[in-house]
């Protein structure tokens, strides 16, 4: 555990890192970025917490069982969305033109509309959940192993 100054700053900073990561995930179909990148940003916040606080502290709030369930859920949502368009082909974008994320932007440069993209925003969210859970589990397991502690179930 580091000094009180570092812990306080990390406490304030984690909120902004979470918001920035969620912004990158949610706007994956409009701006550069997406599920993988936004998930990596959020996991960098988790690493900051691991450095500022001890891994023993973080072990209480990040359970490995919960992270496993989260990662499997992300993978299942991704495969489910891909299989939902199997009527045409695998991974068919069946939501374009419907009322859910279905608006079609004009071709060429335009300001962007969050309610476009069909299944792409949902898949970004699924991949984001998957990356957050997976990389957090890896980082946490490594930190606990270095400190000679057991991964909590």
């Amino acid at each position: 555990m580091l000094s009180k100054i570092v812990r306080t700053v990390a406490n304030q900073l984690i909120l902004f890192i979470l918001i920035f990561g969620l912004y990158i995930i949610a706007h994956g179909h409009l701006t550069p970025g997406g599920g993988f990148q936004g998930g990596a940003v959020i996991v960098s916040g988790v690493v900051m917490l691991l450095v500022a606080f001890s891994s023993k502290e973080l072990k209480k709030s990040l359970r490995e069982r919960f992270l496993s369930i989260m990662e499997s859920t992300g993978a299942l949502i991704l495969i489910g969305l891909a299989l939902a368009g199997i009527g045409t082909v695998f991974a068919y974008n069946f939501l374009v033109g419907t009322s859910i994320f279905g608006r079609i932007p004009p071709t060429g440069p335009n300001p962007g509309d969050i309610w476009t993209g069909g299944v792409i925003p949902l898949m970004n969210l699924a991949v984001g959940i998957k990356v957050i859970a997976g990389l957090s589990a890896v980082v946490l397991a490594m930190a606990l192993f270095v400190n000679g502690e057991e991964v909590e179930e």
Binding site: H29, A75, A82, N93, V96, I104, T116, I120, G134, V151
Partner: protein, 94 residues
């Protein structure tokens, strides 16, 4: 003897690699021309409704590739957790 054989093999491999990037065997940049990139750039916004064409390729046109990437991440996480746990248990039992 082994050193001589090794040297000859090394020279053969280096000659093969150099021959591979020399102009007669290497294609020019962008040749043979492909139509797929132009098609995606022109039609991605209309077909997938996504302004970000890179995302529309990753999550729509080439989703199977992304699925493989996700599987790689899953396998890596499983491997790390499995390995670190096993080492811990072996330490305890010994």
């Amino acid at each position: 003897m082994r050193k001589v054989v090794g040297l000859i093999l090394l020279l053969v491999v280096v000659a093969f690699l150099v021959w591979g990037v020399l102009p007669p065997t290497m294609h020019d940049f962008g040749y043979p021309p492909s139509d797929m990139d132009d098609y995606i750039i022109e039609n991605a916004q209309e077909e997938t409704g996504s302004n970000n064409v890179v995302t529309s390729v990753v999550f729509d046109y080439r989703l199977l590739d992304t699925l493989g990437e996700a599987t790689i991440l899953f396998t890596a996480v499983t491997g790390v957790l499995l390995l670190l746990r096993t080492l811990k248990r072996r330490e305890e039992s010994s």
